[in-house]
């Protein structure tokens, strides 16, 4: 395997981690948005805030990691994508700002009016951001980002049937993952009723996301026939099949309330979509541009990958420690369920 392929694989692993962890944090905002008025939604919002609070910043770094690896490993591809898709990417960036800032602001605000305002900004941007990010994936997958700087259609590249479908799919995936993860979090903390609510949401979104995927394949067939042909043949087809199977298993596991197992199967279903796309498109990154042609020089790839390998020695145990501390049952003192904290002395 050439260094460029290793780089691409590492990049895609980073993207996978971002979708699984960061994506679920976005989904938390989705459920926050749909939680209803302040009183009825309080329990859901508190659970979302509690579950993603300590980890979202670390999860968010995966996105930065992917961007940086892209411009280090495949600079011309980064330039082509960023310049042609500058409109949705600017919207993504602004959505990220609104979401992270509003989340942090809401947590420390105790005025109900402010909490509602920040909560709305957090929830709305949690849905808009994955949508626009999804449209960029559709733009690349359907071959609408040509090589060169701003060489593609500034609007048509991301306002098209494939991009709209991938945008909606991205939102659905985040909502699905979040609901699945939150069932276990809620049950671990003894909130059985809340867990049941998330179970119902997870099942419903699972079905909806499955349906969107089927529609998406139909769209690809007319809108991006080349990608569709690759997806429906060896070697991508088995990955697609794995994803479908994992999705069906997840529904059964949700029925059986096997919340830990369904975390794994639901993640696999999502990972399947991502990697099926990668396998189908490999080795072409942009129309007429292969991995090999776009890759940075070997010295750069070796240095960056080496640095990452050394960094991983620090990161893996630290990440493990972080998740372990917060996956243990919380002691009473740090469980802040009641949102109005207006205990001014």
């Amino acid at each position: 395997m050439a260094l460029a392929d290793v780089m691409l694989a590492v990049l895609w692993l980073g993207l996978t981690a971002y979708v699984l962890f960061g994506g679920a944090d976005f989904g938390g905002g989705f459920w926050d948005l749909l939680a209803g008025d302040a009183r009825r939604g309080a329990a859901v919002r508190a659970q979302v805030e509690h579950s993603i609070g300590p980890v979202w910043e670390a999860n968010h770094v995966w996105l930065i990691f992917v961007i940086v690896m892209l411009w280090t490993g495949f600079p011309s591809v980064f330039a082509a994508v960023a310049s042609t898709l500058y409109i949705p990417l600017t919207l993504v960036a602004l959505g990220i700002i609104a979401r992270g800032a509003a989340f942090a602001f809401r947590k420390v605000s105790d005025e109900p009016r402010l909490r509602r305002l920040f909560g709305a900004a957090f929830a709305f941007s949690s849905v808009a951001t994955p949508f626009f990010l999804g449209t960029t994936a559709g733009a690349i997958a359907s071959g609408r980002v040509p090589p060169g700087i701003a060489a593609g259609d500034l609007l048509g590249s991301w306002l098209n049937p494939t991009s709209m479908t991938t945008g909606v799919l991205a939102v659905g995936v985040t909502a699905y993952l979040a609901a699945v993860y939150l069932t276990l979090d809620a049950r671990r903390e003894g909130a059985t009723e809340l867990a049941e609510g998330f179970r119902r949401r997870a099942t419903a979104t699972g079905v909806v996301v499955g349906a969107i995927s089927v529609v998406g394949l139909a769209v690809l067939r007319t809108d991006a026939p080349a990608l569709f042909a690759e997806l429906s043949s060896w070697p991508a087809l088995p990955v697609v099949g794995m994803s479908v199977a994992a999705g069906l298993v997840s529904l059964a596991l949700l029925r059986a309330r096997a919340y830990l197992a369904v975390r794994i199967s639901a993640s696999l279903a999502v990972v399947g979509v991502l990697w099926a796309w990668a396998v189908a498109q490999y080795p072409v990154l942009l129309p007429g541009v292969t991995v090999e042609a776009a890759a940075a020089t070997d010295a750069v790839l070796a240095a960056s990958l080496g640095a990452l390998a050394v960094g991983a020695l620090l990161l893996v145990p630290s990440l493990w420690w972080l998740y372990r501390i917060f996956q243990r049952t919380a002691p009473e003192s740090s469980r802040t369920v009641a949102p109005p904290r207006a205990d001014t002395r």
């Binding site: 910043e57 968010h60 602004l94 979401r99 750069v300 620090l314 972080l322």
Partner: protein
């Protein structure tokens, strides 16, 4: 190189918008980033003192700073993310060719960000779950990783000032030595100056909050310590910063003489060049400034009669804007010396009486020191970045050739500006409310500390 003058197709308005958007988002991020580098250290000092002495004032300070840090880090992380997008969205001509050359420091920075975010999560959210010593140990990686990320990102900027470590044939990169690119000649002075600036900004800003409270009559132990701890850190670093700034100036004199000429408003190459303070550039000369004979030659080359390069050595198209760079430089140096005087005043009083100066003027100066440090910071970056013009990569790539040629960048700039305006107001409002909604009790007790929630 001269043929590349042809503009890349972006209109002048789009280019201006892109530059202003970059300057706005960088200039915003850098303030929060400095707090992100400096505040964990201040908080750890307070937490450690509180642990050793049991003093509730220190312990409450640590908790309250940690709570503010939680907000600032979130804002720092998201305002940094937009920068990574903008590198490609606004400057594809830079990243498409040279992205790989500066890729290594950014990869390393990514690792540092991870460490920072992970341990921050542990430090803030597990305050009451971990015993004190492991908790403080969990804070140390935040300080190290924050400093490291400042180092890495500034090496990338240093490379834009002194591009080394690559071979280019017909606009294509054919060979890269990523370590040589990262450790270019500009790296040592620039990174040292930036890291010291970060701690100064964090220290003076935090101290100024307590100086304001003390001016309003809150002179209890809690507020005194809240002023003293960060002020001491920042004041101790100020003389170091002036020395490092001098090093940076010598570096510029040697490696970017045209930038130095712009910084000093020197249009003609002369021996025994004077130092001009203030003034604006009109028709190829600096007007209205105060001249100190031989000053510039002395400062830049340690020799009152040394020859100093003027702007006339390069074609007008290769000169940076003079007035902005010159005034920004004067502002930074002026603030640097003012802060040095303030630090010396405090040190002298402490040495004589083991106490801060009694006059209210000292607290007034302390109250503005934070804003002053931020001004110096922004002014310093203006010198560095505007002084690098018209090059985005000094001597290699022009800014006009790097900008995204797509139409409509102006609208992106308008949108980003609006979002940043809201973000600024919201951040300031939330931070203020945090101090108001849970006031510090006059007689602090342990129960006040224990009931204060960090997150």
């Amino acid at each position: 190189m001269d043929e590349v003058l042809l503009a890349a197709g972006a209109t002048a308005a789009d280019l201006a918008a892109a530059r202003m958007q970059m300057a706005l988002s960088l200039g915003w991020h850098i303030v929060v980033a400095c707090l992100g580098v400096g505040m964990p250290a201040l908080t750890l000092i307070a937490e450690w003192r509180g642990y050793r002495t049991g003093d509730p004032a220190y312990r409450l300070l640590a908790r309250r700073w940690a709570r503010a840090m939680g907000v600032l880090f979130a804002v720092g992380a998201v305002s940094g993310t937009i920068l990574s997008f903008e590198m490609g969205v606004l400057w594809p001509g830079l990243m498409g060719t040279y992205g790989e050359v500066i890729g290594l420091p950014f990869s390393l920075e990514g690792i540092a960000f991870f460490i920072e975010a992970i341990f921050l999560g542990v430090y803030l959210y597990a305050w009451d779950r971990l015993p004190p010593v492991p908790h403080m140990l969990a804070g140390i990686p935040i300080v190290l990783a924050g400093t490291a990320s400042a180092f890495f990102v500034v090496t990338a900027n240093a490379w834009m000032q002194q591009p080394t470590g690559f071979d280019e044939v017909n606009g294509r990169i054919v060979a890269v030595d990523p370590w040589a690119a990262m450790f270019n000649p500009a790296t040592p002075p620039q990174t040292a100056h930036m890291i010291v600036a970060a701690f100064m900004v964090a220290g003076f800003l935090t101290a100024s909050v307590y100086a304001v409270a003390m001016l309003r009559g809150r002179r209890d132990r809690y507020h005194r310590l809240g002023f003293l701890v960060p002020f001491t850190v920042a004041a101790a670093l100020t003389p170091v910063q002036v020395a490092v700034g001098d090093w940076a100036a010598h570096f510029v004199a040697q490696y970017q003489p045209v930038k130095l000429a712009a910084m000093e408003g020197l249009f003609e190459t002369v021996a025994g060049a004077p130092l001009t303070i203030g003034g604006v550039a009109v028709d190829g000369e600096l007007r209205g400034g105060l001249e100190i004979p031989h000053g510039l030659s002395l400062l830049a080359h340690w020799d009152p009669n040394a020859v100093v390069t003027g702007l006339n050595e390069v074609a007008p198209a290769d000169r940076p804007p003079v007035t902005v760079v010159h005034l920004a430089f004067d502002l930074m140096v002026g603030v640097g010396f003012a802060l040095l005087a303030l630090s010396a005043w405090a040190a002298w009083s402490w040495w004589r009486r083991r106490d801060l100066p009694r006059t209210r003027w000292f607290l007034r100066a302390g109250a503005v020191s934070g804003v002053a440090a931020v001004l110096a910071l922004e002014a310093g970056w203006t010198v560095t970045e505007v002084g690098r013009q018209p090059w985005i990569v000094f001597g290699v790539l022009r800014t006009t050739d790097a900008v995204n040629p797509a139409p409509g960048l102006v609208w992106g700039f308008v949108l980003v500006t609006a979002v940043y305006a809201v973000l600024t107001v919201a951040t300031a409002y939330v931070l203020r409310r945090m101090t108001r909604s849970t006031p510090v009790p006059a007689a602090l007790e342990d129960s006040d500390v224990d009931s204060f929630k960090v997150v």
